[in-house]
């Protein structure tokens, strides 16, 4: 059986304008050699700090930015080079939910009109059955039907995010790319939205690429996870395997740095020196080596491949010794 979404060796470069006229053009490698698979009904987490390339990866998969290298296959169809017209039926099947629900809703469009817009774009149903469809979607995401007449400013942050999810669901997609979809929400409301996403997967068989920096939410919601650093995959595998027995020094540092309420769960902190290097001139070999407490001379020689199996793999040449 083919996976619903299969991104292979994906790379995205952004050209950078140089300060001096005759200098060679520079390229920023936002994403480099990333492969990720999402099966039907599966939730795959993408974690990493700012600058890790997680948002660009999501946008490249949705073809909101054009990948520089690699391939994206959706339900067996290679998306590269598809015309906008040929993309349209595929866009219906993959939808996006963004972090800031206030910024992704048109402030002068009622909630009902925003949710009904995809019906017109994709020619679903007719004008008369739209109010009924909108009401059903609002109910599905836990909002009352009279919300349809409201404007976004009249809603709370949690309600706006529910509208964003309802709009993504309007076209009955198979995959949702959720980019920091719960990050801007208050804790008590965040839990409601996490529950809603879990319910949608269970009831509609929805698959998700869940991009987040909050490790606890990813641990809770995702079946599998990939850990990105400076545009590359450091570790990938089943969430329980990666989070309970991390193999890559970066994953370990990330988990150890996350504050814990339960004193029993606190780990010995791994203090990472410094901050993320510039993606314009990433370190040679392993991109994490400049901050890694285990780095040796060999780490600068070649880009370490992901070693392991589908359940758990890490891109570290010393993973066996430091374990």
């Amino acid at each position: 059986m083919t996976a619903l979404l299969e991104a292979t060796d994906l790379g995205v470069d952004f050209p950078i304008r140089s300060d001096t006229p005759f200098a060679a053009p520079q390229r920023l490698r936002a994403v480099d050699g990333v492969s990720v698979c999402v099966g039907r009904g599966e939730i795959v987490g993408v974690v990493g700090e700012s600058g890790s390339g997680k948002t660009t990866l999501g946008r490249a998969i949705l073809r909101l930015v054009e990948p520089t290298r690699g391939a994206v296959r959706f339900d067996g169809v290679d998306l590269a080079g598809l015309s906008p017209r040929a993309m349209l039926p595929i866009r219906r099947r993959m939808q996006a939910v963004f972090q800031d629900p206030a910024g992704s809703l048109n402030p002068v469009m009622t909630v009902g009109a925003a949710i009904a817009e995809p019906f017109a774009i994709h020619g679903i149903g007719n004008r008369r059955d739209r109010p009924g469809r909108v009401a059903a979607l609002l109910e599905r995401v836990g909002l009352s039907a009279d919300t349809a007449a409201k404007l976004p400013y009249a809603l709370s942050g949690g309600q706006r995010q529910r509208v964003g999810i309802a709009r993504a669901l309007a076209v009955s997609p198979d995959l949702i790319v959720a980019d920091e979809a719960v990050s801007a929400l208050d804790v008590s409301v965040q839990a409601q939205i996490v529950n809603l996403l879990g319910d949608l997967r269970a009831e509609l068989g929805l698959a998700m690429l869940f991009i987040a920096h909050d490790l606890a939410v990813v641990d809770h919601l995702c079946d599998r996870v990939i850990v990105l650093y400076l545009g590359r995959v450091m570790e990938a595998g089943r969430t329980d395997a990666v989070f309970s027995a991390p193999r890559h020094p970066y994953t370990r540092a990330l988990l150890a740095a996350a504050p814990q309420i339960d004193p029993a769960l606190r780990r010995v902190p791994v203090v990472l020196a410094g901050e993320l290097p510039s993606p314009v001139s990433p370190p040679s070999g392993c991109v994490f080596r400049t901050r890694c407490p285990h780095a040796i001379a060999d780490c600068s020689e070649a880009v370490p491949p992901l070693v392991g199996d589908a359940n758990h793999a890490a891109a570290c040449i010393r993973q066996a010794e430091i374990g």
């Binding site: 700090e49 700012s50 709370s156 942050g157 949690g158 309600q159 208050d186 804790v187 008590s188 409301v189 965040q190 839990a191 409601q192 996490v194 529950n195 879990g198 920096h213 490790l215 606890a216 939410v217 641990d219 809770h220 919601l221 969430t239 329980d240 540092a253 990330l254 150890a256 740095a257 996350a258 504050p259 814990q260 309420i261 339960d262 769960l265 606190r266 902190p269 203090v271 990472l272 901050e275 993320l276």
Partner: protein, 324 residues
């Protein structure tokens, strides 16, 4: 022993353009002992940031009417009655503040050195080589590598973590007794957040400084606080030593917040608090958490709920705390 900072019955009313007023803080007491870290934790709109600004005297007096009393260091006078010139003399010298977004708190057209020198010049009247040495020492103390070179940098040349270190250096330049830190690590990545929390704790231990740490994150608060005050809808609803609060919370809101955090069984539903965060302009009568609470009854909705003593140093604004 008198506490370092003693807040009594603090109220805050904001006046809108049309002259109508609405209450953002609903009268609470809060005390900070010398050298301790008190965390103020709450969701958006709970009033935690305006509490910090009220202490610093940074609210516009034409728009914000503050009531109650704030005493600092056992001095006779109420800070709220002091003339603004007197408050300005205290800011940066006795009490200093750092904020969430260091980029907007730093002056973009002034070098790091000039911004650190400002409080030293103003309060300690340092000049020349002594001032320059004090600036370099301040940068060194907050762990900035190559401080002599960084002193000449502008904010845009620094990373987020470095900017926050500079902000801490400015705040601590004159050795204040109290640091108010408003979400100081929220804009930072988790590995950098760990570095900054570590830095704040070691500076505090070295100087014996007290800290009011304002945060929305229970996990960060658990890592840094001695005592915690939980805010909701402009009131403090529970205060307790950190270990006690997280082990045996006695307010339904605190309990709800803790149980809605992920971290239990993977794939199970989280126990979310129903409804949305209270709009401070539409506060319900009686208990502010009543409409979202599973323990609410008629008594909860009739009048303002007072703080009840649960144990020494532990208080809850809930009529039913004993039954929880």
């Amino acid at each position: 022993m008198t506490p370092l900072l003693d807040i009594r019955g603090l109220t805050l009313d904001f006046v809108d353009d049309d002259g109508t007023a609405w209450r953002a803080l609903h009268g609470f007491d809060l005390a900070i002992e010398a050298g301790e870290t008190l965390a103020l934790v709450g969701e958006s709109g709970s009033g935690k940031s305006v509490t910090g600004l009220a202490i610093m005297g940074l609210l516009d007096r034409r728009r914000a009417r503050i009531g109650g009393a704030i005493h600092f260091e056992g001095r006779a006078g109420n800070l709220l009655d002091l003339p603004s010139a007197e408050i300005a003399r205290m800011r940066g010298r006795d009490v200093a503040m750092i904020f969430q977004e260091p980029m907007t708190s730093l002056n973009p057209v002034m070098t790091v050195a000039r911004q650190i020198a400002e409080p030293l010049r103003r309060h300690q009247h340092l000049k020349g080589a002594v001032l320059r040495d004090a600036v370099i020492a301040a940068l060194t103390e907050v762990g900035i590598p190559d401080p002599a070179r960084r002193a000449a940098a502008f904010a845009h040349e620094l990373s987020g973590g470095m900017r926050q270190r500079v902000l801490i250096a400015i705040a601590l330049a004159c050795n204040p007794q109290l640091l108010i830190a408003d979400e100081p690590t929220t804009a930072l990545d988790v590995t950098v957040q760990a570095q900054i929390l570590d830095l704040l704790q070691s500076l505090q231990a070295r100087r014996g400084m007290a800290m009011l740490f304002i945060s929305h994150s229970l996990a960060v608060v658990a890592a840094i606080a001695d005592r915690v005050a939980v805010m909701y809808g402009g009131s403090i609803v529970e205060t307790a030593p950190a270990a006690v609060l997280f082990a045996s919370p006695r307010h339904p809101y605190t309990r709800g917040l803790l149980s809605s955090l992920p971290g239990g069984q993977r794939g199970q539903r989280l126990r979310a608090i129903p409804g949305s965060v209270v709009d401070p302009r539409r506060r319900p009568p009686g208990c502010v958490f009543g409409p979202r609470c599973g323990h609410v009854d008629a008594a909860c909705t009739t009048g303002a709920v007072p703080m009840a003593a649960v144990a020494v140093n532990h208080a809850s604004r809930c009529l039913h705390w004993a039954a929880l």
